[in-house]
């Protein structure tokens, strides 16, 4: 059960996938309230489920979670602040819960029992980048092919799609708060893409924010990986 050991490891050894970029994410979000907010929400508990609807496996997983399983594309059950379940495919779902809820894994495995299906701890697979502020949708529209108009993408919708060339899960967790879940190996790329994409919105901010933009934002060149790692050797956020 190596996967469980991993997410249950000592907190002080955990390293957020985007730790080297936390300072820059914070800088573009200043001063609050800003038209743009970027932050990482690392270490959430994520559990992959597979179960065919209308089977015993599906019913007992839904029951154990207590929030049901979504039954169509875009649908999310539960609560973004607590346990939520995203639809990945007709028989595939992703549980997203606060950090250190990995006790859910054995619970769900037990619920599945010997029925056909799957319960896998995927907590290390994706991180969450939170994009908020009044310009958030404009930023996403630059790189997401899905229609993000509230008519088709109301609060509480989540889909698998692409941001630029990277595959992501995109979740509108609140009216002006979008959660972007890239795989960890694409996380830095996705964050750099966003840092670049938010620039024009930062600079165009009506309240004179642009004057206060720190150097890091004015600099168009993405920080090269080794340098930025030195900047922030240790995660600013731990669970």
């Amino acid at each position: 059960m190596a996967d469980i050991l991993f997410t249950q490891g000592p907190d002080e050894l955990k390293r957020a996938p985007l730790a080297p970029l936390h300072r820059r994410l914070e800088e573009v979000s200043q001063p609050a309230p800003s038209t743009i907010r970027l932050a990482e929400r690392p270490f959430t508990t994520q559990i992959g489920l597979r179960a065919v609807p209308d089977t015993a496996a599906h019913r007992s997983l839904a029951e154990t979670l207590g929030v049901g399983l979504p039954d169509r594309v875009g649908e999310v059950t539960g609560d973004a602040a607590d346990v939520a379940v995203l639809w990945l495919g007709p028989d595939e779902f992703l549980v997203v819960a606060p950090p250190n809820r990995s006790e859910l894994v054995p619970l769900l495995q037990e619920a599945l029992g010997a029925e056909p299906g799957q319960v896998v701890d995927l907590s290390a697979n994706r991180t969450i980048i939170e994009l908020g502020g009044s310009s958030a949708r404009d930023v996403l529209d630059k790189g997401v092919p899905a229609d993000l108009h509230p008519r088709v993408f109301p609060t509480g919708t989540a889909v698998t799609t692409t941001l630029g060339p990277a595959a992501v899960l995109l979740w509108r967790a609140a009216e002006e708060n979008w959660w972007i879940l890239p795989r960890v190996s694409f996380a830095e790329y996705t964050a750099q893409w966003l840092l670049d994409a938010v620039r024009e919105h930062r600079l165009a901010a009506p309240d004179g924010v642009s004057d206060a933009v720190p150097d890091a934002v004015a600099d168009p060149a993405p920080a090269s990986a080794p340098d930025s790692r030195e900047e922030a050797p240790w995660p600013a956020t731990t669970a």
């Binding site: 594309v73 990945l88 495919g89 007709p90 595939e92 092919p145 899905a146 889909v159 698998t160 799609t161 692409t162 595959a167």
Partner: protein, 104 residues
């Protein structure tokens, strides 16, 4: 850029999909029973119609499910889609229903 209606996710941009070629080509039940010509047909020969074509797509950057589509290879319009399955999708043109060497 085609807008492809995934049977599970609805219309999405072509960039989210990968192509799988002709649909309904089954693996021969007994490959040893085939002679070289029949094996070549199974491996290398596919329908190449100008017009309606029953083909496979996978929604690789979405639900990751394979499905069948009938698409017009001239206008690129997708006429119908359905989840993967043994049955040729509706509206499939008669002349392209023969899958090569596949059926035992």
């Amino acid at each position: 850029m085609m807008l492809i209606p995934c049977p599970h996710c609805g219309p999405r941009n072509e960039t989210e999909f990968a192509y799988g070629g002709q649909a309904h080509v089954s693996h021969p039940e007994d490959p040893h029973a085939l002679d070289d010509a029949a094996w070549a047909r199974y491996l290398f020969y596919r329908e190449n119609p100008k017009g309606l074509f029953a083909e496979r797509w996978v929604h690789s950057a979405g639900c990751r499910r394979w499905f069948n589509a009938v698409r017009n290879t001239v206008t690129y319009e997708v006429q119908s889609v359905e989840p993967i399955g043994p049955r040729p999708p509706g509206g499939r043109p008669a002349e392209s229903t023969t899958s090569e060497g596949g059926h035992a």
